[in-house]
């Protein structure tokens, strides 16, 4: 047992990688089992259930009007929420990493808030603000403006839960990069906007893309907060995750899983692009650190 692969003598403490081969195999097997059981199997089940009655049946339930409207609503909601979050995330991390001001750490805490608040609460907040019994409800109703139980409410709830994604990706990187390059640009006479566009943005583009990706995946997949503000009107205010629940509860299991597999596909694509970016991103980081 004590024979070592190296010939440096047996006094050296046992390295992390020279465990008994059996222990290693068992550990790896356990890990693999977990991954198969908790990640691969559910994913396979989703697709298997969706295709139970053939590809045509699955396709039919995706092009059915209520499903199409759910897909459309999801795309619109993410299409509005994600760019707004990018704008916010960029400006917040720019402000936090490049400038000093009072209340900075408070701002960072605030940005993280949606991570620690339950999505149900995030949704209820909007009901309390814009609902008929809330602050602005009666005013909005008088002016025929719909916020909750309509697209704006769904976008707001989506934005709230995806708030930290972009900023959280950018703040550590931008802090790490420091202000030297920006200061150099400014001292050479570049305007603030030009500095941002020509210096800051190129430095963080991969991290930004990565944040957008995560943000989008969450925006399209969000259930809890959106469920509270949706009103569940079929063909109108159901997003994809809500539509899946409706179908499941309608005993339409094939249809439910067909739409679910669309979301699963989105997850897989996100994962693939993310891995690709991570690879790129690592290079970028290494390049930055060489300076």
């Amino acid at each position: 047992m004590s024979t070592n692969l190296t010939d440096r003598g047996s006094t050296r403490p046992r390295g992390a990688t020279d465990d008994h081969p059996l222990a290693r195999t068992i550990l790896i097997a356990l890990g693999a089992c977990f991954i198969v059981l908790f990640l691969v199997l559910p994913l396979v089940t989703v697709f298997a259930q969706a295709l139970k009655n053939g590809v045509a049946a699955a396709m039919d339930s995706i092009v059915e009007p209520d499903a199409l409207s759910a897909i459309k609503l999801t795309v619109i909601a993410a299409g509005i929420a994600v760019p707004l979050n990018v704008a916010f995330g960029l400006s917040a991390s720019w402000a936090i990493s490049k400038f000093d001001f009072r209340g900075k750490s408070f701002l960072i805490t605030l940005i993280d808030l949606p991570f620690s608040v339950s999505p149900v609460v995030s949704g209820l907040v909007y009901v309390l603000i814009f609902g008929m019994q809330g602050w602005f409800g009666p005013y909005l109703r008088e002016h025929d403006i719909k916020i909750i139980f309509a697209l704006p409410g769904i976008v707001l709830a989506t934005m709230f839960v995806t708030f930290p994604f972009v900023a959280r990706e950018l703040i550590p990187l931008m802090t790490d990069q420091g202000r030297d390059e920006e200061e150099a640009a400014t001292s050479l006479g570049a305007s603030g906007w030009k500095t941002f566009r020509r210096v800051t943005l190129p430095n963080v583009k991969w991290a930004l893309l990565y944040g957008v990706l995560l943000c989008n995946a969450r925006a399209m997949g969000e259930f809890g907060a959106v469920s509270v503000v949706s009103g569940h009107i079929r063909g109108q205010t159901n997003t994809m995750p809500l539509h899946i629940e409706v179908l499941y509860n309608d005993y339409q299991f094939v249809a439910a899983f067909a739409v679910a597999s669309l979301l699963a596909l989105l997850a897989l694509v996100t994962l693939a692009v993310k891995s690709f970016l991570e690879w790129h991103y690592a290079d970028e980081i290494a390049a930055i650190h060489k300076h």
């Binding site: 199409l68 409207s69 019994q133 909750i148 139980f149 569940h232 079929r234 409706v246 509860n249």
Partner: protein
């Protein structure tokens, strides 16, 4: 190949025109959980009738969920033209808190504004392995009961009151004993879903629990969907007369200028055609002839909430409000 292009075309068309195409007028019916199939049938029949009568295309949009939750959404501003909920208390709330309709809404349509009724029955696994025949059998040691949360689900509140009525009215029964019985019964409930449909899928699809306390209509639907070889319906010795009411939401129809079609829609539920559709979807129609033509609706003694509990306002306050009897007896997780 041709199929694919057809799908793409359909997708493109729908994405460009949206859901608003071709409807002259639309109604939003905010309903409770188990009525999905019922209103699917009713809506298309009514739309056809309305088109024939007036030439207008009417689209009826649906929203389903636990009855209490749906009432809350309407109060919070969900733009319902009509509400078709599980019990009168929930529409009372819309009238009182939301001020969206007068307090006497229930007098505006026949039969206390309930075009159809239902009752509470048991659904058991095929062959009834636990030999559950009446309410008292539910609290045998080891039995797991599936029933939704009375706080959010109308069906669950009817189920609770049915169990209470049984325990209070049986020989030697009393309100005290009923409370003890209910407390014992909910100890057998491992988890409370928010709506009736959630409980049905928990029981039938996910195979959890030994008995489901359910709407009669929901039980028959589960029988249709899950197959008669998997589950049986058991009628207890007594149950409750469940009256799910319907109402036009005055403030909303006035704003939408949709009162005429909303009124006609609810009237349709009382018509022969509507009553027949309700019976076929396992709701007990009010029309005695149509009811008689459907022998599957077993006759059993049914208690009335007004007689036994003094109406829904009182029942809600005593049993289901915060700090009420249900809060006193229910500890999450059973045991």
């Amino acid at each position: 190949m041709r199929n694919t292009s057809r799908y793409l075309l359909a997708a493109a068309l729908l994405l460009s025109t949206g859901a608003t195409c071709a409807a002259d007028i639309s109604l939003l019916n905010v309903s409770y959980d188990p009525t999905r199939e019922l209103y699917k049938a009713v809506n298309s029949a009514f739309a056809a009738q309305w088109k024939a009568k007036t030439g207008e295309n009417v689209t009826i949009n649906m929203s389903h969920g636990g009855s209490g939750k749906q009432a809350r959404a309407v109060i919070d501003g969900l733009d319902a033209d009509v509400v078709t909920l599980a019990l009168a208390y929930d529409i009372d709330s819309i009238s009182q808190i939301g001020k969206l309709m007068p307090g006497d809404w229930q007098k505006r349509l026949p039969n206390k504004s309930t075009p159809y009724t239902s009752t509470i029955v048991f659904v058991v696994r095929k062959g009834n392995p636990w030999k559950i025949h009446d309410w008292s059998d539910l609290i045998k040691p080891g039995i797991q009961i599936v029933v939704p949360n009375p706080k959010t689900s109308g069906g669950a509140r009817w189920a609770y009151l049915a169990a209470w009525a049984y325990a209070e009215k049986k020989p030697g029964g009393s309100a005290e004993k009923a409370k003890a019985f209910i407390a014992e019964l909910y100890k057998h409930v491992p988890v409370l879903d928010t709506g009736a449909r959630g409980s049905t899928t928990t029981f039938a699809e996910r195979g959890i629990g030994d008995v489901l306390i359910s709407w009669e209509n929901e039980a028959y639907l589960a029988l249709d969907e899950m197959g008669r070889d998997k589950i049986d319906i058991v009628y207890p010795s007594v149950s409750i007369l469940a009256e799910p009411p319907v109402a036009v939401v005055d403030k909303n129809v006035d704003r939408h200028k949709s009162r005429k079609v909303a009124d006609a829609y609810l009237q349709f539920l009382y018509s022969k055609e509507g009553q027949e559709l309700e019976a076929r979807n396992h709701y007990r129609p009010r029309d005695p002839q149509i009811l008689a033509a459907h022998p599957e609706f077993k006759k059993l003694p049914l208690y009335d909430v007004d007689d036994l509990f003094g109406g829904w306002q009182k029942a809600q306050k005593t049993h289901f409000a915060d700090g009420g009897v249900f809060d006193q007896i229910y500890k999450p997780g059973g045991k």
